[in-house]
């Protein structure tokens, strides 16, 4: 009997020993914990990260793996391993400012924006007062974030049911004082992307279209040229959301419509004017109009000298009764007087006003606030038509988060197009002072509102931050094709964005929201299961072998001693 038991034990030991390699393999497999699909996945857009002359700005990190916390956290709690979820509706600018300026450590920041700010969300909301308040708040927030050096990841997301539910849950837990950590459960937010890398040599692309005028027989002189220019790229707090409907989507749409109207006029030699027309879509606008400068320098000198004047369009989409013409030459300059008179006469006919604003160029200051200043620095007469009355600061008003399609009115753009087109036509055909309307409504040369609307909608859904646009970006190809339809010669110029600006990639990511249970819960469950198994064991022993056997299990050693004795 004893021998049998001993052999049985040896057999058991051998079985266990043979299982060691299997156990080792299991342990290795077990160590590779994969993250399953989360219950909720949300698209998030990262704050921009850039350097100016080596000085870092924006959010410097991109990956995130922390518990969620809300604004209802207890004062003095440590948030360095939590992601703070801030809905725009409850944003307290002072709080954010304090957090950033005092350099307090935070695991991450997730800002929830209302659905009305989503690009492509055309309906609903619009220009009511609640949205106005949000826009102002958003503009302030962007200013702080874009100009600060933030040592934690900052992401923007749009509110939806799942984030609302999660936020309500997190707030409830925070209010009870249970902050989410590894031991108390809650929600875990995970964004797994690689570290952001510098964009090696960002390319800016200028597209130029040339519409030649009618040269008289035997006349070999260079015809004078009128240029219409607009910059098409944007810059904003979240580059993947920077659609810039007003700045400068409206300008691009206006330029395309003017090009279309003049291409109709110029297609017939009888109506072709004696001026060449040069249309340019430039890039690098937010960065002191670097693209415009490079484009001008690349132009043939004779062509540059033949430019009578250039009209730059910047933000013409949300004005009501007054449009501003900004110049850098003094207002009493003869050319400027002539241009302004032409524009104001046309404006009067159309039922609104234009005003002239003069800003001197400071050669020593590298800041270029308006596009026409790049022309003036090269001795070309130019003016910028804009609804903005003050020159925008560096990296502002260039396509912020609040600049969405709802802010822009097609009617304003159409009025702007009429103004530019009629004034140019009066200058080209020499109709100054005469009461002739070429682009009248209900004529074959009327401004096409559907064209304006469709291009505006397209631009309002396309983020256009220049360093993130490749050479053959679909939008650039589309703009090039459009100009090819309306002009005789189109050329595309690629330049690299040199100088002080450096950008980093990783602008869009997926946020996984996991609902996690705490360690205490797992321990409790283990305790419950352990006691269940023990109870089951005792029950089975009692019912099949009797209570004596159960007791004898615990009293075996003493009984053996008795036997030996």
């Amino acid at each position: 009997m004893v021998d049998e038991k001993k052999s049985k034990q040896r057999h058991r030991v051998m079985v266990f020993e043979s299982m060691y390699p299997v156990l080792a393999l299991m342990l290795i497999l077990v160590a590779c914990v994969e993250l399953c699909d989360a219950a909720t996945v949300v698209d998030v857009y990262r704050l921009i990260q850039y350097d100016i002359s080596g000085v870092p700005f924006g959010s410097r990190f991109s990956s995130l793996n922390h518990h969620a916390a809300s604004l209802s956290f207890q004062r003095g709690a440590d948030l360095s391993r939590s992601v703070l979820i801030l809905p725009l509706r409850e944003l307290d600018i002072g709080f954010v400012q304090d957090y950033i300026s005092q350099k307090q450590s935070l695991g991450g920041l997730l800002i929830l924006l209302p659905q009305t700010f989503r690009p492509g969300n055309v309906g609903g909301g619009g220009l009511n007062s609640e949205n106005d308040g949000f826009r102002k708040l958003l503009a302030q927030l962007e200013k702080i974030l874009v100009h600060g050096n933030i040592p934690f990841p900052v992401y923007f997301a749009f509110e939806n049911e799942e984030t609302d539910a999660m936020l309500a849950d997190v707030k409830k837990n925070d209010a009870l004082g249970q902050q989410a950590t590894a031991t108390t459960g809650g929600y875990k937010l995970v964004i797994s992307v690689s570290e952001p890398k510098k964009i090696a040599s960002p390319i800016i692309t200028n597209i130029q279209g040339w519409l030649p005028g009618l040269r008289a027989e035997g006349d070999s002189n260079q015809l004078p040229t009128v240029a219409v220019v607009a910059s098409y790229d944007t810059f904003g707090a979240a580059p993947a959301l920077s659609v810039g409907s007003d700045s400068n989507g409206s300008g691009v749409v206006a330029l395309l419509e003017v090009a279309r109207l003049f291409s109709v006029l110029y297609s017939n030699p009888k109506t072709r004017g004696r001026y060449n027309l040069l249309f340019a879509l430039t890039s690098g606008g937010p960065y002191n109009y670097e693209g415009t400068q490079k484009w001008l320098k690349s132009l043939d000198q004779r062509m540059r000298e033949s430019i009578d004047y250039a009209i730059c369009l910047n933000s013409v989409g949300s004005w009501d009764s007054e449009l501003l013409i900004h110049v850098s030459k003094p207002p009493d300059n003869a050319y400027i007087k002539q241009i302004f008179e032409g524009f104001s006469n046309v404006a009067e006919d159309l039922g609104f006003q234009v005003a002239l604003k003069h800003k001197k160029i400071n050669i020593s200051n590298s800041r270029v606030a308006w596009e026409h200043e790049q022309f003036s620095r090269l001795r070309v007469t130019a003016a910028t038509i804009s609804e903005l009355s003050t020159p925008p600061e560096l990296l502002e008003n260039a396509g912020s988060l609040s600049d969405t399609r709802q802010l822009v009115s097609e009617y304003a753009i159409i009025k702007g197009v009429k103004l530019v087109a009629e004034s140019l036509a009066k200058h080209i055909y020499g109709h100054q002072g005469k009461d002739i309307k070429i682009f009248a409504d209900d004529s074959s040369l009327a401004v096409n509102p559907f064209y304006v609307r469709s291009w505006l909608d397209l631009l309002s859904q396309t983020p256009r931050v220049a360093p993130f646009l490749s050479k053959n970006e679909p939008l650039i190809m589309a703009l090039k094709k459009e100009l090819e339809d309306y002009t005789a010669e189109v050329s595309v110029q690629h330049e690299s964005l040199d100088g002080s600006f450096t950008f980093y990639d990783s602008t869009k990511a997926s946020l996984n929201i996991y609902q996690v249970a705490s360690v205490t819960f797992d321990l409790l469950l283990l305790l419950v299961l352990g006691s269940y198994l023990i109870v089951l064991f005792s029950f089975l022993v009692i019912t099949t072998r009797g209570l004596d056997d159960l007791i004898s299990l615990f009293r075996r050693p003493p009984s053996r001693k008795v036997k030996m004795g």
Binding site: C36, A38, Q515, V516, L529, Y532, L536, L540, T544
Partner: protein, 228 residues
Amino acid sequence: MTLFHFFNCAILTFGPHAVYYSATPLSEYDTLGTSVKAAVVYLATALVKLVCLATFLQVSETEVFDPYQEALKAMIGFIDVAGLYYALAQLTHRNISQNHKFQAVGLGWAFADSVLHRLAPLWVGARGLEFTWDYVLQGLEANANLVFTISLAALGSLMWLRKNKPKSLIPIIYTCAIIIATMPSITSYLKRVMGWHFPKIVGFEIATSLVMAFISCQLFIFCQRPSL
């Protein structure tokens, strides 16, 4: 702690089988071979069932309770019973008593069922960060299934291995066996037609399994008396 959760659910799903083996006299009589043979028979039965299901059943996209399909599934479920019959009656086991034979066969059968049906989802699902109650409920279901299988094995051994049964009890034995054998159909009916959620179904399964175990235990004891 995700591995922790996996470990918890694993011991809930597979622990009771090990406990049953070690607590009852099965371990003393070393009936592991019987259980292993029963597990192999279960594997073969599962394969045959799969082939039949694939051949005869039409896959419906919606969770609609189709009586014809369910009847077909129930008939295929009887292949289970046939497998159990083969494991109990036809296989040669070592000289172990009736009492222990059906327990060992039931245990091996239930363990194979748990491993096949629940190990893979547990491995893939319970290790993730996201927490759900599903795997704990699945473990409880495995426990109920163990009780069901042992009860079915007991009734099966009564039906096929015992020749002298009191005439009055035969219909009860057969009714109970049919109820246990059609449990899958009953639960799917509850899930689809009555719209019960998983926790409710698991609760129902546990309650029914305890009732069935009690009834079959009584029947077994009753049938054992005349032979004494």
